[in-house]
């Protein structure tokens, strides 16, 4: 029963009011992409013990999608941010570095 702060409405939201949306920052591959790209896009997911980036929707509230950076092992939340970005903002990366120096996730660190 996590609590995440919705960056749109500013509320600390109980997990029961949220809908999970899986991994964040996945790049869409449409027509013209290779089979490998499509496979990555549709099926390949990170499953880290530690830093992870996720999509959540404030489903029973303002309805907005947002991203959360958190640790899957300790449940620490490093921050939440707009879903309208292709990479984690610098302040989120800094917050993670403070708690977990040397972290990396996919191409981000």
């Amino acid at each position: 029963m996590l609590i995440l702060r919705c960056p749109y409405c500013g509320n600390d939201v109980d997990e029961t009011d949220l809908a999970p949306g899986g991994e964040a920052h996945i790049r869409r591959h449409g027509p013209g992409s290779t089979d490998a790209e499509l496979t990555d896009y549709l099926f390949q997911r990170e499953n880290p013990r530690g830093v992870h980036f996720e999509r959540w929707r404030h489903a029973a509230g303002c309805g907005k999608w947002f991203h959360a950076a958190r640790a899957t092992d300790t449940l620490q939340v490093f921050g939440t941010y707009s879903a309208q970005t292709t990479e984690p903002p610098q302040e989120i990366r800094d917050a993670i570095t403070k708690a977990r120096p040397g972290w990396s996730w996919r191409e981000f660190s």
Partner: protein, 1005 residues
Amino acid sequence: MSTRLPSHGRLIDRSAQVTFTFNGATMRGYAGDTLASALLANDRMMVGRSFKYHRPRGVVASGAEEPNALVGLGQGNRFEPNQRATTTELFDGLTAVSQNHWPSLDFDIGAVNTALARFLPAGFYYKMFIHPQPFWKHVYEPFIRKSAGLGRAPDSEARDADTYEHFHVQTDILVIGGGVAGLLAARNAALSGARVLLIEQTAHWGGRAPVDGGTVDGAPVDKFVEQIVSELETMANVTMRLRCMGAGVYDHGYALGYERLTDHDPDAPGPRHRLWRIRARRIVTATGAIERPLSFAGNDVPGVMLAGAMRDYVVNWGVAPGRRVVVATNNDDAYRTAITLKQAGVDVVRVLDARAAGGGALMEEARSLGIRVDPGRAIAKVSGGKRVKKVAICNQDGIGGAREDLSCDAVAMSGGWSPVVHLWSHCGGKLAWDEDRAHFRPDPDRPPLGADGRGFVVTAGAASGALALDAVLDDAAAAGKAAAKAAGHSPRRGKTPRGETTPEAAMEPVWLMPARADTPLRMKSWLDFQNDVKVSDVQLAAREGYESVEHTKRYTTLGMATDQGKLSNINGLAILADALEAEIPKVGTTTFRPPYTPISMGAIAGEARGEVFQPIRRTPMHDWHERNGADWEPVGHWRRPFTYLRPGETVHDAVNREVKNTRENLGLLDASTLGKLVVKGPDAGRFLDMMYTNMMSTLKVGKCRYGLMCSENGFLIDDGVVARIDEDTWLCHTTTGGAEHIHAHMEEWLQTEWWDWKVHVANLTEQYAQVAVVGPNARKVLETLGGMDLSKEALAFMEWKDGRIGEFDARVYRISFSGELSYEIAVPASKGQAFWDALIEAGRAFGVMPYGTECLHILRAEKGFIMIGDETDGTVIPQDLGLSWAISKKKEDFLGKRAQQRSHMTDPNRWKLVGLETVDGSVLPDGAYAVGEGVNANGQRNTVGRVTSTYHSANLGRGIAMGLVLNGPDRMGEVLEFPGTDGTVFKAKIVDPVVYDKDGEKQNV
């Protein structure tokens, strides 16, 4: 025998006598008794039988940890099995029955299991199931079935007579446990100004400290409890609840409290149980400690009891569990029991102290009262069937050669105390092994972590491993302050109350008594009393290769009973560690899972039962349907009429009547449940081109188009008619079940992929009532009502128009899901019933009948129209369904396009949609598979297709069906075999899916 004492009993009111029954026998107790103390006062020591061997079982503990004294409580709609007598407060009229025996508690046939014990070793079930033998079927199985199950399930006709509710609470600090530690921690936290919620599972504040004695700031513990409780009661920022157990601790400071409001007073008004759903910034667990049994032969004979529990019965309830008591211990605390018993006039026959050097000051005090203490001695064996008769004593450091028999009727045992670490552990708090006290205690450096990455649980008092009163108070005072500080408040400086108690000599771990007990003794030394797991079982598991404590637990069922091993786990893993020649902390503990003790299903459900379990969505015409014979079908959260039953009709008759009437005269369908999403904005057309497989941006204003929606995996997820309202507005119809998730699907893509596109989506489903007016007389009835021109010329097929029909503002879509002349008419929801009434009234002259969803299905199936959820199941793509015409070739991209290019999606051997016509006109079974040549690797017939929709068509007078068949469209005329589930084989010919009005002449008039 066990009996009520003339003295003691701090919790009972001797002026208030209470009557209750146990197995039908009337007994008396006092207000303040638990069922267990009252049973003991009535000399009822044996209260049940064990799960596996049906051995006689007596009360062994005095609280939530009790494994044995489980009873069935109440009657009829209030009957509940497996209730602990030790946590059941006595009330007048209570009825209890014992469990796990047949035919009676005192004479039980299943007890012969004991004789079979050597045939029922650890892993018995696994071993038997792996090697089925005739013996199993004819001997074991009937036997086990008779004796299986814990308690009796309530009658299947019974309905819980009580009500329950949920509370949602936010607090700065939650303190779980209202003993001296919890009280002090709560006070220190509250003094900082933080909001504090303090919950205690029993009906009393103070925990067991008042029983154990000692002083706080020079006064008796009772006095301290009284003072601090009244102080807390005056604080506005403190909420206190008795009879409220901390059931579980979860992520980010979520916790569950389980409050039993009327269990002790069943006639009181209000809910019986309340589930507290708590969000706390910090949680203090002041959950105390639980005493460990000693593992000696016969430690399960009724009359053998935990030493601390025996002390509770004397001090709290004025009950002596025996007249002549032997005490066995490895620590000083049990001497408190010996002293208490002696002072209450009970004969303490002997204290057997397993420590060669004996104890400290408490031992001396016991001796000074004339109690004989034998250091270095142990119990070799307890004898007695339904009650302790005698104890054979031996050297602790030996194999159990008996030196002496002591006649007695009760045994108090103490193997030391273990902190209650459950709530600390639920959410990931780690444990440290305390060598000196031989227990696991919370490791404060590895707490469960919250969202901020810091620990959110602090332990206080005995729950931290601080067992002596002075240490308890010091630890709790600090815990309260630490929690307040962590929750963002400034704790006040102040003096910590000073506890004083007799100092104790060091305990010595004793995991087996005597230390090298021989096999016959180990086979009678119980670890898990409820599930009948013995020392020998755990040792056998280790010999058979079970090294993980989690595996051993499951193999032996150690700790898997309703008490979840509160007494047995540490002893069991110590035995396992010994057998594996490993250190105890290396073997580790099993996982602690919530709830701490079982909570009622009623409390979990709360108010969500009956009509409020799930709200029902109703169309504006719902009540009319109800009054006119609707046979309801749930569709999502909606209820839709399956058909409208007339007096004397069967469902089949009614459906056939509706099907024929709609084709021949006039039918009305309440289509209000269809999803209606408005998509609007400068980029709406571009957006819909991505959402649908076909082109929507080119749709002309005033026109409609049937559209398909696929997931990014390429699979068909929804369909419906899209109407273009104006230059930048489209109205998308979804399936009834699809409105919400298709709306969410659109939002997801808009917000997370194309967030710079200017589009809004609004769900207008409930804003409109929509009626399908269907059949050859459809235009006539609308013309009778008057208003807008609905001629073929004014409104052609697949067009829509706004206007007035009679006195109603209406939007009319000329679309058809039946193949008939059909208008789908939307009016404001508030006008829905009036519009429906007007249609029914005007329709009388034209043979109007309302029709339900089954008629809708049959009409569409006759036309070969697919239904999402029938023809699709998440693995079907439009190309499978002959819908390639609805997939744009021009568009560069749409959701699912790339995935549909995958090799498996373009495989010519995908099963494709066809019609199926039974050779004899019968109706194919839904979901039946067509079988082909040969068998698969499992020896099953190969399958070549399956039925997706199947009905009786009253119009054609025979069964019609659709299905997906291997190379189906190329096999027209071929007859397939569909085996039924009863051995019959259905034969059906592959035909065109459209079996009615192939050229569409009926709808195009």
